[in-house]
Symmetry: C2
Subunit: 214 residues, 2 copies
């Protein structure tokens, strides 16, 4: 059975998964890099960047589950980049350079579709205006039996959770108070009821919380 | 040095420390008893109730720090009871029966002061309309060199945090999504910057997060 998974989604104590005011220089807005700092320190992340080193403890083990058996990703348009409204810079192909770390088809949700872009290393960005169900249908087909990852940001993940389309959700509670930005949890009252929930704090101070469909 | 402390304050993943619709039958409103369930299971809580039994692991050890060296508590009027506006039931002396577990002076913040009430076992409820600073001055005087606990609810704790009057904050993240109620974290952006922060998850699934002034 192919599953729908969310991994390494960092949220603050007050429930924000990104800050306010995203820009080219600040992918997470005023949050800076405090949300993904635990992830950037891991070997899994370094390897994704083609770099050596990084921590190899529990944070790394959990982070590394990200890619296993994934055949396609769905992401929101704001994870892809800081442009809003009709595309003005058609050269923008994401934050990740010519060889993005996905290595699968990636479906970018947007109300402003544009032609698909084939990158190096197996990543192709498809831009689609679709409901969560329809996006998942397309991504599942592309994944050819493998799992589909919902890559974020919070606006996108929230939609798939609200429609009960997610089988495994891994959030990482970072002990900071962001105050503003985009909340993950809106409209998801009682979410825990549909899942088996586990939590573990690691020495970096973050708490990994997994919601797995029984 | 006498300190100002908050203990055992349970918050949901989405940052609520109580639900919506408090009433006599539902002290936490629609949240039921899901926020304090971890605490009710401990020996510390059972002892407070004059009962035997209860768990004796890390939850209990952390919960038990509640009373040590405390000379007075400050609480909000909604922690004291479900009445709003001018007091109609003057017989109401809190949820805790004739011998409340505080055993110190307790200052209840309210815009509707009423005469003090002396209970059994050393608890006296004083009802004061005061700023956080003024309430703390009165409570510190009553505590005679011991620490002052800010007992909750969230509206009250938030005020003392916003005024930077708290030296030790212990929150307990319960992995549930409440959706509505009273948020703890509003207006506290960057709170972590003033504290040393530690986190630990226990087998009950909650995560204890402590903020201690360096
Ligand atoms: N905390 C983490 O671990 C994590 C993970 C990933 C990303 N992030 C951060 O999160 C931020 C992005 O999150 P976000 O919540 O702002 O936005 P997002 O989910 O990345 O993208 C939202 C946008 O995607 C488009 N979209 C979403 N659903 C759609 C649908 N069903 N149909 C058509 N278009 C749809 C809309 O854009 P248009 O209407 O403009 O086309 C919408 O404004 C970034 O700052 C990123 O760095 C954080
Ligand atoms: N999660 C936990 O661990 C925990 C801990 C304790 C309590 N609780 C729950 O939290 C809820 C109560 O929290 P809450 O945030 O609703 O209310 P609260 O903080 O207990 O009380 C707020 C009320 O106290 C009065 N007040 C507060 N500050 C004041 C000031 N500076 N001057 C004068 N009056 C002031 C006001 O009442 P008036 O204007 O009406 O007088 C205000 O509406 C209850 O459901 C309780 O069960 C949860």
């Amino acid at each position: 059975m192919s599953r729908v998974r969310v991994h390494n989604l960092s949220v603050s104590l007050d429930g924000f998964a990104t800050g306010e005011g995203q820009s080219l220089d600040a992918p997470f807005g005023h949050a800076g890099l405090r949300l993904p700092a635990w992830f950037f320190a891991t070997r899994s992340f370094r390897q994704m960047q083609g770099e050596a080193g990084g921590s190899t403890g529990v944070d790394d083990a959990v982070a590394g589950a990200w890619g296993t058996d994934i055949g396609a990703e769905i992401m929101g348009r704001n994870k892809f980049g800081p442009q809003r409204g009709p595309w003005e810079d058609h050269e923008w192909n994401g934050w990740w350079g010519p060889n993005p770390p996905f290595h699968t088809p990636v479906f970018v949700l947007t109300h402003h579709p544009r032609p698909s872009v084939e990158m190096e290393g197996g990543t192709t960005f498809h831009f689609i205006d679709a409901t969560p169900q329809e996006a998942l249908r397309q991504a599942s087909e592309a994944a050819a039996g493998l799992d589909v990852r919902i890559g974020g940001g919070p606006t996108t993940v929230r939609q798939f959770l609200a429609e009960d389309l997610v089988d495994h959700l891994h959030v990482v509670v970072v002990p900071i108070v962001l105050g503003r930005g985009e909340r993950l949890w809106g409209g998801l009252e009682g979410l825990e009821g549909r899942f088996d929930v586990e939590s573990v704090t690691t020495p970096s101070g973050v708490t990994h919380v997994t919601f797995t469909r029984p």
